[in-house]
């Protein structure tokens, strides 16, 4: 520890005031700008309408008479609980499906090492580069023909198209770090390939599985364009789509309830994220480095 501080002292050779100006001040500005919209979202949620549109008599940066009216309205006068359940269902199902498919694919590519495994790996990487923006129109016609239009199943089946490539690449990286010798020992002991995957490789790849899982969950939770295009009835919408399309009515925007919706829609992922920050950062950076 003392070593690293010493290093910093030598490396920066900067006096304290100069360091304040070149490091702490810009850093504080970054943090302020990056977090301000969330503060603004929160403060607006708790403002009564009288304060919301009156900057002359009330300081807009603070709330004088906090109210739960906006949250109350959202929870009990809209289908918000339904949207939340739908989003949860879609996110969990598509995550489970993607992890299942990705584990098998990554194991085959990284550990079974068949001829052409590199090509398959590259193809899956390229699949990650195909953005939903160019797929949603043909997918919409497919979803319609399959009779899945306006059904959560349409989302559960299409989300893996961007989850599987990401998870497979992440897991290939994790499998690479597991010593091959462990599997050879198990093979000698007479374990079958699937037993090796279940008893040796998977338990060792748990951090990778968690990273892939939380990443997939968040990506599914945040997905927008497919949910907008494939779902039409109000009660089956996912949270991001529903808040934008159901709460915005007419020309007068109810900013209080809109911000309450945004806040409550963001909280589940934010809480989820706070539990797994380290996995999150490692999967983000791991996937980029692979």
């Amino acid at each position: 520890m003392s070593n690293s501080t010493e290093e910093g002292a030598i490396l920066s050779w900067q006096s304290a005031p100069r360091r304040l100006m070149t490091v702490y001040l810009p850093l504080a500005l970054f943090v302020f700008v990056l977090l301000f919209p969330f503060y603004w979202m929160t403060i607006t949620t708790f403002k009564p309408n009288a304060e919301l549109y009156d900057y002359k008599n009330f300081n807009p940066f603070w709330v004088v008479h906090p109210t739960l009216a906006n949250i109350n309205k959202l929870l009990f006068e809209t289908a918000y609980p339904r949207w939340l359940m739908t989003t949860m269902l879609v996110a969990v199902c598509s995550t489970v499906l993607s992890i299942f498919a990705s584990v098998l694919a990554a194991y085959a590519i990284q550990r079974l090492r068949f001829r052409g495994s590199n090509v398959v790996g590259l193809a899956i990487y390229i699949a990650y580069l195909v953005p939903p923006s160019i797929l949603f129109i043909p997918l919409a016609t497919m979803v319609f023909q399959l009779g899945l239009f306006d059904s959560p199943l349409a989302l559960i089946l299409t989300y893996p198209t961007f989850l599987i490539p990401f998870c497979t690449w992440l897991l290939i990286g994790y499998f690479k770090s597991i010593p091959y010798e462990l599997e050879e020992c198990a093979l000698i002991d007479g374990a079958s390939r699937l037993q090796i995957l279940r008893r040796i490789t998977l338990p060792l790849a748990v951090p990778g599985l968690i990273s892939a899982g939380i990443f997939s969950f968040t990506l599914s939770w945040n997905e927008f364009i497919y949910a907008l295009a494939f779902i039409s009835s109000s009660e089956k919408k996912t949270v991001p789509v529903a808040i934008l399309t159901e709460l915005v009515q007419g020309d007068v925007y109810q900013w209080g309830s809109l911000m309450a919706g945004s806040l409550l829609g963001s909280l589940p992922v934010a809480i989820f994220y706070s539990f797994f920050v380290d996995y999150y950062v490692s999967s983000l950076t791991g996937a980029v480095k692979e």
Binding site: T5, G8, L11, A108, I225, S266, Y273
Partner: protein, 320 residues
């Protein structure tokens, strides 16, 4: 067969002869096929096939609820004379270029700041990722509110607190204001991803290189130019490719804040494709707009490929 309920028999030397299924599962070719089936199957059905179908749709006059016939390049021809389409192409390129430059400039700066020895580093790292975690549409709604013509908090600070301006800014009411406002929101959302990825790259650079440079009397700019920049280049190019790709095909931010307005000035190609394709019902024309994005995406992917192979060369081919 020893029942598992009798705990007194922990070891059973008699091994059941492997059944037909078990033997099949030990056949490597079959196992590979089985393992790849779910992933490759899903991707082929819901990614490769729609990609082909999209290209086909671009050459038909399909509408919602009515199959189309092949019309050749008619969709592309009508787009060629469509000012709204060219406006969308212009804004997509502008949006991508400006946002990417800002995201990487500011993101690299933030990464360098975080790479210093600052207190609560992991906490700061955790909270600055927030913009990237939260659903884009929801933070976009927050920006929409912050860009409100009458009650914008940004205008309030500029006019009533600082007194730098005399009138409130109409952020989303005029084309250029709206364009820059969207770029700002995109940069805000993209900085964390760039910064955290580049920080990971920075942390792999050995401190001994900087110590050696210090002994040789290198200035901080020289240290950045001769050590940080070249060693960061491989990861930078990968992050750059992803960032360009996802900014170019962005949809949510624009759809949530302006829906392409005012007077179609902020349409991205993706939002225009959506507007013509789904609510407008002209699937063929929407697909043609979406397909027009593909050449740009291929360029970005090739860039990524050559950047990766460059990395191999830099590391003496040891990277597999």
């Amino acid at each position: 067969m020893a029942d598992t309920t009798t705990a007194a028999v922990p070891w059973n030397p008699k091994r059941a002869a492997p059944g037909a299924l078990a033997r099949l599962l030990d056949n490597k070719a079959f196992l590979v096929f089985l393992c790849l089936l779910p992933a490759v199957g899903l991707l082929l059905v819901f990614l490769t096939y729609p990609l082909g179908l999209g290209i086909w749709l671009a050459f038909t006059d399909t509408h919602i609820g009515r199959g189309g016939v092949f019309v050749g390049f008619e969709n592309f021809e009508s787009l060629w004379y469509d000012n709204v389409f060219w406006n969308a192409v212009f804004y997509t390129v502008f949006y991508t270029a400006v946002a990417t430059v800002l995201k990487f400039g500011l993101g690299l700066w933030l990464a360098l700041l975080l790479n210093e020895n600052v207190p609560f580093k992991s906490l700061i790292r955790a909270i600055i990722l927030m913009p990237w975690i939260v659903p884009t549409v929801l933070s976009a709604i927050a920006f929409w509110w912050m860009f409100d013509a009458q009650f914008s908090i940004i205008s309030y600070v500029l006019v009533d607190v600082l007194g730098w301006r005399t009138s409130y800014i109409d952020f989303l009411g005029t084309p250029w204001h709206a364009r820059w406002s969207l770029v700002f929101a995109n940069v805000w959302r993209g900085i964390p991803f760039v910064a955290i990825s580049l920080l990971a790259g920075l942390q792999t650079i050995s401190p001994s290189l900087y110590e050696a440079a210090l002994l040789d009397g290198a200035s901080s700019w020289q240290r950045f130019r001769k050590i940080t920049a070249p060693l960061l280049a491989p990861i930078l190019s990968v992050v750059l490719t992803f960032s360009v790709l996802f900014t170019f095909t962005d949809f949510q931010l624009v759809y949530a804040i302006t829906r392409g307005g005012p007077i179609n000035s902020t349409h991205l190609m993706a939002t225009l494709a959506f507007q013509r394709g789904i609510p407008g019902g002209q699937l063929g024309e929407g697909a043609a707009i979406a397909v027009s994005m593909i050449p740009f995406l291929i360029l970005a992917t090739l860039f990524s490929y050559f950047a990766l192979s460059n990395r191999k060369w830099q590391q003496g081919g040891s990277d597999e």
